[in-house]
Symmetry: C2
Subunit: 214 residues, 2 copies
DNA sequence: GAATTAATTGAACGTTTGTTTTATTATTGG
DNA sequence: CCAATAATAAAACAAACGTTCAATTAATTC
């Protein structure tokens, strides 16, 4: 047998990516074999090499596009203007929505960094740093303007990112909480970490639905 | 060749554990081969099987003892009594100290859960849940007594744990901040998440040195 | 100092790994 | 409908994998 009826390169590549993200998220990059991945797609292992030159390049592609999509999502959702509290709320909402929607690829991008060669690792970390810089900037401007009360903006930014990314560790859709519930509660917590006074908090909550379009 | 001069079972086992934690933390469980591990120890691969029946059991042993040590550290450091804010400060300080001191085994215990069989996974998760329950209890009692202002204790507990465990992602000893600096700043942040008023915060900071003995 | 036990080596086992090559079939464009 | 191209299968490769086994030497016990 060779080319099968109805075979389509675009569909196959999409199927490979989807299966790869799911399998790698569940079992880890090293634990997933090319044959196992091919089996999930319904194809022979050799066929994978028509779309990706090797296993590492496949992983790298998944991670790079995840990070680029995260940055693009934020660029689309970022308020053009607004006070620091509003911008922080928007950042939190966008971050949580994106990560909950892409739990698998987030897992891959966070856990499989060590499987990349030095050059590819640097490329991913560069994207990650660029994204984190967005939050640091919000915090710094808020601290400078007096809207926030933050002792160490760099450290607070790292703590916030760890906290809000951690949602995917325990949150499951159809749980006792909806994504909107979780978003609202995490927005309140980032406000507290930013040192915004209690009375102010409610006014700056950025509704999740406002980001659906972005 | 066979038994080598100066060989000692206890020392070899300790060397295996140490090398395994370091290698697995760096490259991942699946990516580390028994031969590679043996090479790091300075021994042949077959010798490892005198101490651990197989690779998975070695991983499980490392993870179980890490979790048990974490729980033991908290039991030793836990204040016999005290108000919720003091206990939360103690929890934060102990957690950060433990995880910074054991960065490698923390990485292993957090990242390699998926490499365990179902039964072994359950055993580890049971220990983890028991530990997390300690924090939830502090938060719940603080919320009940009015010392804290928390909307959702279970969610806040998860967020706090993610935040304070995240220290090991970016913190490196001999950085611009000392462990004591980092501990103090994270204590302040957990206080904010718990809804303790600004004025109160300072009074409940639990010095890192008080835990050195534990 | 002989007998016993502890610790390790070295070779080997059958699988599985990522990847390459070659042949074959489906689809597309003229 | 024929030529070109796209998509895949099938087989094969050497290397690496976890693990087992028998042989061998060091340390300990009596």
């Amino acid at each position: 047998m060779a080319r099968t009826t109805g075979s389509d390169g675009e569909k196959t590549e999409a199927a490979i990516r989807e299966a790869a993200v799911t399998l790698i998220a569940r079992h880890g990059y090293e634990a997933v074999s090319m044959r196992q991945l091919a089996g999930e797609v319904g194809v022979q292992a050799a066929a994978l090499y028509r779309y990706f030159p090797n296993k590492e390049e496949l992983l790298f592609t998944l991670m790079r596009e995840h990070m680029q999509a995260l940055i693009a999502a934020w660029e689309a959702a970022r308020p053009a203007s607004g006070d620091p509290a509003t911008r922080l709320s928007a950042f939190t909402a966008n971050h949580i929505r994106f990560h909950v929607e892409r739990r698998h690829s987030t897992h891959v991008s966070n856990m499989e960094l060590r499987s990349l060669s030095h050059a590819k690792l640097s490329a991913i970390l560069k994207l990650r740093t660029a994204y984190e810089k967005e939050l640091r900037q919000i915090l710094r401007e808020g601290a400078d303007s007096g809207a926030f009360d933050i002792e160490d903006t760099a450290l607070t930014a790292m703590a916030m990112i760890q906290m809000i990314t951690g949602v995917i560790v325990w949150f499951r859709p159809n749980d006792r909480l909806s994504v909107a519930d979780v978003t609202r509660k995490y927005q309140a917590m980032t406000m507290r970490l930013a040192g915004v006074e209690q009375e102010e908090e409610a006014g700056h909550v950025y509704a999740l639905d406002e980001f659906r379009a972005g």
